[in-house]
């Protein structure tokens, strides 16, 4: 089985994308590159990156993209989300940020961005920008495990790869139980539910990205252009 590379938060940075593509060429058996949103951002013109992603070079690993928080803002502002506009961005960064974002992406790319999916289900893994609760849902190692379990349950997957929280991490739910007592017109039902053994993986963003081997379930946290932060165990990932 081949390995996956998962990246996010390029924000129009073609140079960074080329750096990551170059890194991946030196890795063994990477056959899929998943871009979990935020291809665009307000800080630089994103057209060159979008051109490259949409028309990969022959030597590139072909990227499969989902949309992220920044794409959601742009698409909302362009009328792709009904009456909604980029309110979340307006609230957090003001009108100027909305204008900057609109100027950073040529309108010819908008229909393509609108065609991007919310996420992929690969094997028993969900690959999405944030979570199915909200495109702005920031999952981090500090997030309550109850919320992590809820996000896994909503998608009914064993592994959730997410980017919005920004950090690289893996939280493995390893055990635990809960008692549920339900009283209704049929009487009382008592049940004991076990925590399913599932994981949430934060893939990082920008220069921080993640490799995953579905056959062995090994996760490797990487840094573009540099050595893996987990250098001692490089190639082994986390057991």
């Amino acid at each position: 089985m081949k390995r996956w590379a998962l990246i996010s938060g390029l924000h129009g940075d073609l140079e960074l994308y080329e750096q990551i593509q170059n890194d991946l060429k030196h890795q063994r058996s990477i056959d899929s590159l998943f871009v979990l949103g935020d291809l665009i951002g307000p800080d630089r013109n994103c057209d060159a990156l979008l051109d490259r992603i949409r028309n990969p070079k022959r030597s590139d690993i072909k990227p499969d993209c989902v949309y992220g928080w920044w794409e959601e803002q742009l698409l909302a502002e362009c009328g792709y989300r009904g009456d909604r506009r980029a309110q979340a961005l307006r609230m957090s960064d003001g009108e100027e940020a909305v204008n900057q974002l609109m100027n950073a992406v040529d309108s010819s790319h908008v229909p393509w961005l609108a065609s991007l999916k919310f996420g992929f289900i690969e094997l028993d893994c969900a690959l999405i920008h944030a979570s199915s609760a909200d495109i702005g849902d920031k999952l981090t190692p500090e997030t309550s495990p109850l919320i992590l379990l809820d996000r896994l349950t909503r998608l009914d997957v064993n592994r959730l790869f997410t980017a919005k929280g920004g950090q690289q991490f893996r939280v493995k739910l390893t055990g635990g139980t809960i008692q549920s007592h339900i009283k209704d017109h049929e009487g009382m039902q008592k049940a004991n539910h076990a925590v399913p053994k599932r994981s949430v993986i934060g893939i990082g963003q920008q220069t921080a990205y993640t490799l995953y081997d579905p056959a062995t379930d090994l996760v490797e946290f990487m840094e573009a252009g540099g050595k893996a932060p987990t250098s001692k165990r490089q190639g082994l990932g986390f057991a």
């Binding site: 499969d64 999916k117 919310f118 996420g119 992929f120 289900i121 690969e122 999405i128």
Partner: protein, 263 residues
């Protein structure tokens, strides 16, 4: 030599299941036909033979329609051809000998060059299963053609539940072939005296290109049937072209590439 049996019995007695098993257990070629019944005042014909024929043909692809005489010559020469002719639910038989066949039936059989050796009547023949039967003389019948129609699956489930629980009158018997947007069709079968409905998928699956081509229909028997309400509810359950196309586009995109189901 060719064996031809004439089968009769009231609605809901288990004829179709029995015929399917009898034909399936026969090793050689086989044929099936349901005779048209004479019209009865106050009753719309139980023209559900298209449902039964399509269901049987789906389960036994080599089954021949005895109405088409195209290759009857070959069958006559074949030693082990098995033919079942079913009388309409509104026709009756007297006795179990070929002579007991009434003149209308006799004429129909002669026209089709069919000579039954055995006549078997459900409810009288001790070898046949004694299923629940209905006194069809007092029942209304309603038949709705649904060719090319495709159901929203959850709506079909709600409609069928309402139908067999009396939302549209006292339905005693319901039988149908229904198309779903995933290309499958279901043989739906229910009778008031049995617990639960039978939902059996056809083997044949339609391609995701346009409306299905197979026959589809709903036949009801019961009392005080509210045909208008049935029709308008069915209308609310059927998919329009745009929605059907959406389902089919998804299926088409999944066919060559099982990769990447969308969330």
């Amino acid at each position: 030599m060719t064996q031809t049996w004439l089968i009769s019995g009231p609605p809901g007695c288990g004829k179709t299941n029995w015929i399917l098993n009898a034909l399936k257990s026969h090793a050689g070629p086989c044929g099936y036909l349901r005779l048209e019944g004479g019209s009865r005042p106050g009753l719309e014909q139980g023209r559900d033979s298209s449902i039964d024929w399509n269901w049987l043909k789906d389960q036994i692809p080599q089954l021949t329609d005895l109405r088409s005489n195209e290759d009857s010559g070959d069958y006559e020469q074949h030693e082990s051809t098995f033919k079942i002719v079913e009388l309409s639910q509104f026709q009756t038989l007297r006795g179990t000998e070929p002579d007991g066949v009434n003149t209308i039936v006799k004429a129909q059989l002669e026209e089709l060059n069919l000579k039954p050796q055995r006549i078997r009547h459900f409810g009288e023949d001790p070898e046949l299963p004694k299923g629940d039967t209905l006194d069809y003389n007092t029942l209304e019948s309603l038949s709705i053609k649904l060719n090319q129609k495709v159901w929203d699956p959850n709506s079909l489930s709600s409609f069928w539940f309402e139908l067999v629980n009396g939302a549209y009158g006292d339905v005693y018997r319901a039988k149908a072939l229904m198309n779903l947007p995933d290309g499958r069709a279901f043989y739906c079968n229910w009778i008031v005296t049995q617990k639960g409905s039978q939902f059996l998928p056809l083997n044949a699956v339609e391609q995701p290109n346009g409306r299905p081509k197979r026959q589809s229909a709903l036949v009801l028997q019961g009392k005080a049937l509210n045909g208008l309400d049935v029709q308008s509810t069915i209308h609310d359950c059927l998919l329009n072209d745009d929605v059907l196309e959406m389902h089919q586009a998804q299926r088409r995109s999944q066919q060559p590439n099982p990769y990447q189901p969308a969330l």
